[in-house]
Amino acid sequence: MITTTYVPGNSFLHKTDPRIKTILLLTTVPLFFFPLSITAMIMILILLTGTAIYSLGFSRFLQPIKMILPILVFVTILTPPFIRGGDAILSIGETVILTTEGITQTLRLILRFSGITLSFYLFFATTSINYFILTLNWFKLPYRVALIVTIALRYIPYMITIYNNIKDAHKLRGNDYNKKKLKEKLNSIFPTLVSVLIHAIKLIPALSMALELKGIGLETKRSTYSVIVSSNLALQIITSGGIVLLTILIALFI
């Protein structure tokens, strides 16, 4: 098993067709790069926050916020002193520390980054990686690329196991991974990396032969992907259209 950001659930966002969610994502994220008013950005963020709490619960909603919190703190501390425009709010002697423009720009950066983070998180927390690939396939991602990514996803847990096994074997032979100096740490991990890579690369001819025998690589497709089936697709399209329209109206007129 590999950990993903997907959170199993039964919310309306989980049930929404991943193709529609992709279009919603592609509409929401670029909006944060337009010169919107602070009020409009706050309203869009409230909309996203409400959707996140309703679909995933409060503790799950906090997860991405906790991840970006250090960046938000640094933005709050570092950005205002570098923006000089607007009226001075705080100054020490003749040095201006804080201006109105500094606060506006900082707020804009915080809202933008939070909005983008939350939009992406909402998409991937309610869309499993299988559906994500099927969606990309529906949007005409080349067959071979989708095949490569699906095979890679299948091998990631296997590679993690191999890495851990080789690391354990090297530990038993006396390799110490807990050395203090960086150079010593790199020296101790180097033989493990060589072993992991050789093991991984030896898989290529075997996998290649298996694919070749199955006829993969020929011009005709040797396998097909599942078709995404959604109930109430028309209703979902109308609702999503309404959300997109509302978001654009907020962006334009507030």
């Binding site: 960046i71 890679a152 960086l182 290529i204 001819p205």
Partner: protein
């Protein structure tokens, strides 16, 4: 069959290209997402994404490094929860791999390695600086530059000897470049 004919007959197969890309994407994701060295002084981590990108570029060539480096690191961001970075990571590390692969395609030499390091750093750190700057301001984005330079330095210091060690221990890999 000569070595050259054998090499081209293997690497020209679409199945070989699919298999090598899939395995290298998986290994790139693992090197980025799982294998990390904690840095006590800064409480940060070194990940091995740049190490595996340098390795892939030298042993498998620029196109493989572009695709495996880009998709592998983007998948690591996706699985690690840093989903907003996915498209930019794909671009930064993919182009980094392509540049290293193109520069070191024919011969590994000290000037070549230095040029590859410079190109990789400018591309990777540059793309991250621009995207981070647009997202949360150029002041904070500038703070990340030294860290990205160090990551690339680790890529050269570990990635180049790693490629040599794997080639020595498993010679058939020399036929896998395409």
């Amino acid at each position: 069959m000569s070595d050259k004919e054998n090499k081209s007959s293997i690497t020209n197969l679409p199945a070989f290209k699919i298999a090598s890309l899939a395995i290298l994407i998986a290994i790139t994701t693992v090197f980025t997402f799982i294998i990390r060295i904690p840095i006590v002084q800064t409480k940060g981590y070194f990940n091995f994404s740049d190490v595996i990108i340098f390795f892939t570029a030298i042993t498998f060539g620029p196109v493989t490094a572009l695709i495996a480096g880009g998709i592998g690191t983007a998948l690591a961001d996706l699985l690690g929860g840093f989903v907003w970075w996915v498209p930019f990571t794909f671009l930064a590390h993919g182009l980094q791999g392509l540049a290293v692969g193109l520069i070191l395609r024919k011969k590994i030499s000290i000037p070549g390695i230095l040029l590859a390091f410079a190109a990789a750093t400018i591309i990777m750190a540059g793309i991250y600086f621009i995207t981070a700057g647009i997202m949360y301001g150029f002041v904070l984005a500038a703070v990340e530059i030294p860290w990205n330079i160090l990551q690339n330095l680790a890529g050269v210091i570990v990635g180049v000897p790693l490629a040599a060690a794997v080639k020595k221990a498993y010679p058939p890999i020399q036929n896998y470049k395409w």
